[in-house]
Subunit: 203 residues, 2 copies
């Protein structure tokens, strides 16, 4: 009996935790990290502020957890696109396109995850997040070079340049709300692929 109550208690706690994270996601998508207050999150999640603090000791802790989960999901989507069958340049294109489409679908969330000034605890996670993206692209580019599908080039430099071009043009800080999503995406991908498939790189 005590055991079953514990199980039920656990499920209820997990449900509340999900409500909190969902409320956080919605508020970040509306205004980024900086303007979101714990009181708002509690209200949107339908719980008391005191309850919220029993789940997350501080806003920093909550944001760090939200950030970890949200970026994990983004990385998984891009990784899946990069694993689809095809030539290396097609796989890179598919990965860039998934990243871009998801970013433009939720532009404020993308900005919060990629570019918004945040506190150092989240910032450290962000560095790892950007690195994971770049490394995923780097692997496919290295594979392409080794198998004669792509011209010889420094796979790491190309991958970081691509992630930089994509992030800056789509998400910020310099990005502007694009009028035509798919045209914008096509342009940026064309820019990146021109660099990727360029015949001669300096040795």
């Amino acid at each position: 009996m005590a055991y079953r109550e514990t199980e039920r208690g656990k499920a209820r706690k997990e449900k509340t935790r999900q409500q909190i994270l969902q409320a956080t996601a919605e508020l970040v998508d509306a205004s980024g990290f900086r303007l979101v207050q714990m009181a708002q999150i509690a209200e949107r999640a339908g719980i008391a502020a005191g309850t919220l603090y029993r789940y997350f000791a501080s806003k920093e802790a909550l944001f760090a957890d939200y950030f970890r989960r949200a970026t994990e999901q983004e990385v998984r989507q891009v990784a899946a696109a990069l694993q689809e069958p095809g030539q290396s340049s097609e796989r890179v294109e598919a990965g860039l396109r998934v990243f871009a489409r998801r970013a433009l679908l939720k532009p404020r969330t993308a900005w919060a995850l990629i570019a918004e000034p945040v506190d150092p605890a989240v910032d450290e996670q962000r560095l790892r997040y950007r690195q994971r993206y770049a490394r995923l692209f780097e692997q496919v580019i290295s594979f392409g070079i080794d198998h004669g599908e792509l011209p010889h080039q420094d796979a790491r430099l190309t991958s970081t340049a691509m992630v930089g071009a994509l992030a800056e043009a789509l998400v910020g800080p310099l990005a502007e709300p694009p009028a035509q999503n798919e045209t914008t995406i096509d342009h940026i991908i064309a820019f990146c692929l021109a660099g990727l498939t360029r015949k001669e790189y300096p040795q």
Copy 2:
């Protein structure tokens, strides 16, 4: 007589201000913004901490002033390179190369100016700084398109993608200390120029 003393006082004040800014530049070049303390700056400038606070009321105010001057100098150098005679793609290449060489000459300063997490007052200035770079490149690209020197493309998107590629690959957050500066620079410029001179962009 009173007038001459005021002039002399002004000159002395300006000299002290320059010493403070020079000390700030040296310390930022050694460790970025976050680790630098006002006490260190005063010591390096050869003045008392109390004197320092008479010139700059806070670290934020000092950093904002340093940032404004330092980025102004960087923008001027890149703007000058972009104005040199030549085809548009050569001018863009010259601008990218000046940016890249200066960044790799003082990598920590470049990181502090471009990518280091900083307080919001500096961060707002940084946004304007990145925008000015992108707009400078955009002007040359637009000129090139109008004069048939460059293929038709969205000049704004290409310029932000180039600034993003360059900043990410050279400065960070993803950048790594490059072993061979000129080879690294050549690679990134080749990547950007491939995008810039690409024959067909989606319409």
